[in-house]
């Protein structure tokens, strides 16, 4: 069985009577890149903060590397690398001094650990420039450097590509993929930039209004979002026979309500319609379908809202 890195059961955070995270069940398995998808205020950051110990939960269970509470859970947090919201450092220290401070604090042996991560995020040449003079992109990269410094088994990244330029985004994506593939680092990443998540994630969790709507693997999501022609007819069994005979169609599925999804003939809707009509089937509608992550998420939360 694949090792479970993070499991939450009924995890809840309330402020007064208002639930911000409401009974979330989430499972992140070893080796996954878990994309946490949700619009602003959906509860993503609060959920991550509970995992990192910044916010005490109001209810539910949290299991990190098998530890559920107390000192054991605190100890397991040392196996994580975290970047929540905007990276925060001491403004009067340089990149190297900031990381050296955290290296000493965490008892990470050898100051070369600092040099290695600064090199990895392309901040090795910032010299005496202090953190307060960094651009947003540099701050993000320093945040990532801190998250990576202890060679974590599990990376928790909340909106990590905010402020990165296009080149930086590509480098960042490649770095995460490399960490995941070469060092088997498990990653939980939340982002508004859904196409970017689609390039990375192997599993998704969709959250809205503090509620986990669905957890789905990337292949399963791909299957759900597969491009097709969707025909609504009066008799699906008759229509499929017509299509098999007339067009040799084999790759299709029949859905409830006499809906047929054809995964071939995508650029021949006229031929499909003609075949059905000539074969004597009543064609009620026919349209091209197919969704990306963004469309899928929007359909899930029920309409076009800011994602």
């Amino acid at each position: 069985m694949t090792e479970e890195i993070l499991v939450t059961r009924g995890l809840t955070k309330r402020y007064g009577n208002r639930p911000v995270v409401d009974g979330v069940d989430l499972t992140v398995k070893k080796g996954q890149i878990y994309g946490l998808v949700g619009r602003n205020g959906a509860g993503k950051t609060t959920l991550i903060r509970m995992v990192t110990g910044q916010t005490p939960p109001s209810g539910g269970e949290l299991n990190l590397f098998g530890a559920t509470g107390g000192k054991e859970l605190s100890a397991m947090r040392a196996r994580t690398g975290v970047m929540v919201e905007t990276p925060s450092f001491y403004p009067y220290l340089t990149a190297r001094q900031n990381l050296e401070y955290y290296r000493l604090q965490r008892g990470i042996p050898g100051s070369q650990a600092v040099d290695q991560v600064l090199e990895a995020v392309d901040l090795a040449d910032t010299g005496k420039k202090t953190f307060k003079n960094f651009s947003l992109g540099m701050k993000q990269r320093l945040g990532l450097a801190l998250a990576l410094m202890n060679r974590p088994d599990f990376l928790l990244l909340d909106e990590p590509i905010n402020g990165l330029d296009p080149e930086g985004i590509v480098e960042f994506r490649n770095l995460l993929i490399r960490l995941n593939q070469e060092q088997q680092t498990t990653i939980l990443i939340s982002s508004h930039i859904l196409p970017e998540l689609a390039n990375l994630a192997t599993c998704y969790g969709f959250i809205d209004n503090g509620v986990m709507l669905e957890q789905i693997s990337a292949p399963a999501l791909q299957e759900k979002c597969r491009a097709c022609l969707e025909a609504r007819v009066d008799d699906a069994s008759q229509a499929t026979l017509i299509l098999e005979k007339a067009l040799g169609v084999r790759d299709y599925e029949v859905l409830p309500g006499n809906v047929i999804r054809l995964y071939c003939c995508l650029d021949q809707p006229q031929d499909v319609a003609r075949a059905l009509v000539e074969g004597g089937a009543a064609l009620l509608s026919i349209e091209s379908r197919g969704a990306n992550l963004e469309d899928y998420f929007l359909s899930m939360i029920g309409g076009v809202r800011h994602a």
């Binding site: 903060r49 990192t52 110990g53 910044q54 916010t55 005490p56 000192k71 859970l73 605190s74 100890a75 397991m76 947090r77 040392a78 994580t80 975290v82 929540v84 919201e85 905007t86 925060s88 450092f89 001491y90 403004p91 009067y92 220290l93 001094q97 050296e100 401070y101 955290y102 000493l104 604090q105 965490r106 008892g107 801190l146 202890n150 928790l156």
Partner: protein
Amino acid sequence: MRNYLTAECYKVFRRRYLYVTLLVVLALEGLLLWGCWFTLVNGNTGMDFYSVLVTAAAMLTVGAYAPLLTCDMVFSEQYKQNTLKNEVAYGLTRIRIYLGKLAVSALVSLLAAAVMLGLYSAGCWLLFPHNGQDGTALLLMGYCLAGAFPLWLAAQGVTMVCYFLVRNSTLAAFTAVGLLGVVPGILQVMGLLVHPVFETVRQLMPTVMLETLPDMAFQWNYIGRCWLVGLGLLLLSIAVGLAAFEKKEIH
């Protein structure tokens, strides 16, 4: 804990803030010494090693407010910069974070006090004439420092609670000044107007005890009371601070 203390020292000793503050205080100290020396060379025969050194004993109360600066240096506006999340998210316990910062701020205070008192004493020794009262002056200073030390620690504890629990550093400093400096005044008024018990409580406030200390020269039971009150207040402040910090949300 050793790693935590090392890191805090690494951070605080790289702050220009520490050295600039120390330089300003030393400059003021130099000004005081120069003023005394100036009156000496202009005919004030009362200025000797004893009289100038024991002037420092009258300024022990200042030490109760020094934590406003040293706690600020160590705490480093954690809530404004949001840096506490880096520590908590790594699994460092809040007890370690709290005690670590308190210990390092106390260490910085102690080192600063040692530098200031050392230089002041050396200045007195070099600039002013000596007489048979030198030994008494040194004994009196030793007595005062023995009583002041636990009271300064208490002030350090009270100030650190304020920095940990009040998100705004300026407001935290004002709260600390209020607790250390204003509350005794209120207690004094209440002691006069409401009930004498308030005056008794006032006599146990660190700043009041520091003011009283030079007048209680060589009354060793008073030193005992200073240690009892100082350590008691320090432990109380740690308990209150930790209990509240454990529940605090870190952004």
